[in-house]
């Protein structure tokens, strides 16, 4: 399966992001990015289904929340930054 990873500035912010998404009916998991994602220094992200990115960004925007970089995560653990 393919997922999107929304990079967050802190663990707490990632948790808040996940809560906002869950309230919008979007399943979201807080996690450390896989090693192949080129983010340095104890970063956390929120993982969502590839089908829900657009909805997720709308939900975050409606909640007044910003987000960091977004990566697409492939099944083999590799990823690439995307510009939604």
């Amino acid at each position: 399966m393919v997922f999107y990873l929304i990079i967050c500035r802190s663990l707490t912010y990632a948790q808040r992001t996940a809560k906002v998404l869950e309230r919008a009916g979007i399943s979201a998991i807080v996690m450390r990015p896989p090693v192949k994602i080129p983010e340095k220094g104890c970063v956390y992200c929120v993982k969502i289904s590839e089908k829900r990115l657009r909805e997720a960004l709308i939900a975050l925007n409606n909640a007044g929340m910003s987000h960091g970089k977004i990566y697409i995560l492939y099944a083999d653990g590799s990823g690439a930054e995307v510009k939604p």
Binding site: R9, S10, L11, R16
Partner: protein, 373 residues
């Protein structure tokens, strides 16, 4: 033991508090230190604690809930963020040493808005008179010595209008009196976890909009940078968290949320009323009680004749009744009321105290008053 020293620390907690603390010791590490289940469980618990606190205290974002080790820690962060040497800082006459000592250490110019005990209108006037030129106001929501509820809402309005930063010490009011951070517009509100929030010792909360670091170190984020993150709560939470404490505090907050502060305050006021009525019947008792019950929480100070307060508290302790005597780390409050040399005997209740316990205390004080001459 009949425990009536809840203004220091609530001894009796909901059983879920110790259960949660034990679970944290067995299963959790600390938030932001790895993606493994022990760290993530800690992260989820800490976040729930922030969410509950944010909900209880009218805070828009859980990130504004900074988890500290006690109210003194929280107040030190707040005061040292806003005051510097020579700052003109206006405080009430009922502040604790956790406010007075940091201000003294910084070298701030402290101005006391002197006002009468249990006279909120007098407090408002005192702040009005002194607010001009103040660079910071620090005010106790409720006096730890007398249970006096100061008119923080009105003083917060004044600070807002005059654009003077405000720090509220909610050590005695959190969990008992309603607090709405966003409505008050304060810059910081500091509180302990181990009193009216029924959490374990070693926990506290600072509600913040920003702030300067008191200590620096690992935060589990932005690790490549030599400086502390510029966002909350990470900026003000360096080092490993007190997870057993935070897990317990989360349950304490849940308990307060479930019972409700109005119900808790009503229960405590009823016990103080009972104690005051009973003490009023005992010859030689001098009571520090509000005429208007609205102005007092579950804390009641008294003295027996001119006896040293420690002597009376000692006699009660021998009968297995725990109260507090002396200055309660708040000499300024005693100076304001004229009890600096004698101190006071302070009884302070929690939601777990009963009428039976108050009756027992009254019987013993009556007996002590006859035996000690």
């Amino acid at each position: 033991m009949i425990y009536l020293d809840n203004a220091a620390t609530t001894l009796h907690k909901p059983y879920t508090v110790s259960e949660a603390a034990q679970k944290a010791i067995r299963r959790m590490t600390t938030p932001g230190r790895g993606g493994h289940s022990a760290s993530m469980l800690a992260a989820e618990t800490a976040y729930r604690c922030r969410e509950r606190a944010a909900s209880l205290f009218g805070v828009n974002s859980p990130e504004s809930i900074v988890l500290t080790f006690n109210a003194t820690h929280a107040l030190n962060i707040a005061i040292k963020s806003l005051a510097r040497e020579g700052s003109r800082v206006l405080i009430s006459g009922y502040e604790h040493n956790s406010v007075v000592r940091p201000l003294n250490t910084i070298g701030a110019r402290v101005i006391v808005a002197v006002s009468e005990l249990f006279e909120p209108e007098d407090a408002v006037r005192a702040f009005e008179r002194r607010l001009g030129g103040a660079e910071l106001v620090v005010i106790n929501h409720t006096s730890n010595v007398f249970g006096y509820i100061l008119p923080v809402e009105r003083i917060a309005e004044m600070c807002k209008a005059a654009r003077v930063p405000l720090i509220i010490d909610a050590s005695q009011s959190a969990g008992v009196v309603d607090i709405d951070f966003e409505r008050l517009g304060a810059d910081f509100i500091a509180m302990p976890g181990h009193k009216g929030l029924y959490g374990p010792q070693g926990t506290g909360i600072l509600i913040a909009r920003g702030g300067k670091t008191l200590i620096e170190g690992g935060t589990g984020g932005n690790s490549q940078l030599p400086e502390m993150p510029d966002f909350l709560p990470d900026r003000l939470e360096a080092g490993t968290h007190n997870m057993p404490g935070i897990a317990g505090l989360e349950q304490g907050l849940k308990f307060v949320e479930k019972v409700g502060t109005k119900k808790i305050l009503a229960h405590e006021k009823a016990l103080v009323r009972q104690a005051a009525d009973g003490l009023g019947q005992i010859a030689g008792i001098r009571l520090y009680k509000a005429n208007n019950e609205e102005n007092q929480t579950g804390v009641l100070s008294f003295n027996l004749r001119d006896l040293p307060s420690e002597q009376v508290a000692g006699a009660l302790s021998e009968r297995n009744i725990a109260v507090r005597a002396g200055l309660h780390c708040a000499p300024l409050a005693h100076r304001s009321v004229g009890t600096l040399s004698q101190g006071t005997v302070r009884m302070s209740v929690s939601v777990f105290n009963t009428k039976f316990e108050i009756n027992r205390m009254l019987n013993h004080i009556e007996d002590i008053s006859k035996k000690i001459k």
